[in-house]
Symmetry: C2
Subunit: 199 residues, 2 copies
């Protein structure tokens, strides 16, 4: 028993060291002051707090918050191997799941078996988007870059020639996780169109 606990600890530390790389995965999103791009670790922290702050606006009254916050914290770890796939890059999104599944197996595979199984199924649950937690976490994950784009006068939207229709279609699943948030997103999209942030 003691030996197992020691071995598990060593594997956990190996994993903690490995995921330091998440701090170097650069996203398309800019920081709100436009000074540089955001990375996955920063995004995951911001999103974890947003989860707690916005939970009363979820479509579901009962959310397992421990499960949901773990989902947030691990949702982008696969990008250590698979890289960040831009939401509006159709080609790269084609084989995204396969690349990420392989990454999940390798990276979560560093952990002791129980944690490995837990993180693997949390990540898959998030990807499938069927549970209340996955749907709400997915809504917050989509909402954050919209807020960043809105606050930066649509700089990245303009750069990638993103249209109103593209943002609406891509972000429609927000509605499942939070009708309230979806209405706010529609307001932001409308205002962004007016202001020329979106075509």
């Amino acid at each position: 028993m003691i030996e197992q606990k020691e071995r598990d600890f060593e594997n956990i530390i190996r994993f903690i060291i490995e995921i330091d790389k998440v701090k170097q995965i650069v996203r398309q999103t800019l920081l709100m002051d436009q000074s540089r791009h955001e990375n996955d670790a920063e995004h995951s922290w911001h999103m974890a707090l947003a989860l707690f702050l916005l939970k009363d606006y979820a479509s579901y009254e009962e959310l397992d918050l421990v499960k949901a916050v773990k989902m947030v914290l691990i949702h982008d770890i696969v990008e250590i191997d698979a890289g960040d796939t831009y939401a509006y890059d159709i080609q790269a999104n084609h084989d995204k799941y396969e690349r990420e599944l392989k990454a999940a197996k390798r990276i979560f595979g560093l952990l002791p078996e129980d944690l490995q199984n837990e993180f693997m199924s949390l990540w898959q649950e998030f990807e499938e988007g069927n549970s209340p937690e996955a749907q709400f976490v997915g809504a917050v994950d989509r909402f954050m870059p919209i807020l960043h784009n809105y606050k930066t006068q649509g700089m990245q939207w303009k750069k990638h020639q993103v249209t109103t229709k593209m943002v609406e279609e891509r972000n429609k699943p927000i509605q499942q996780g939070s009708e309230f948030l979806w209405q706010k997103v529609l307001d932001i999209i409308e205002d962004s169109k007016q202001k020329g942030f979106l075509k």
Copy 2:
């Protein structure tokens, strides 16, 4: 009621935008590959995951994990105004609490009243370090930079002429939160001394 919910939402969004600044608060700690310094948002994300991964090594069998993870996520937000205070800077640590309390009042003050009160008392509980959650979160907060220093051959320890005795004294509170982690820290300190990472 609906109006209140709308007003609360606006205030939450104001807060979410304000805390984007946490991504620009640079710590003394280097990333594990030594490429650059780490920031508070990245540190908080890493630490939140470490909390879940290491919870079975805590001194307490029952931890309120939602409370603990919220504590992790907000613990460095005050540094938006107060700045990062280096652990071994005695002078700057002198008026640290006063500076940070003022910051907490301003920043958490952006939130709706219930969240404001919750975050304020979570932050104070963490600072006081008396509850099981505060002690374990405090232990993980101290453990992370030790691991970073160890993995980077003590680069920051050497730069600031940190001694074995300083690391031991500064990190002794880890023992309250986790006897297991404290023993591991003593091993790391001993090995770091042998390898010349620490004087």
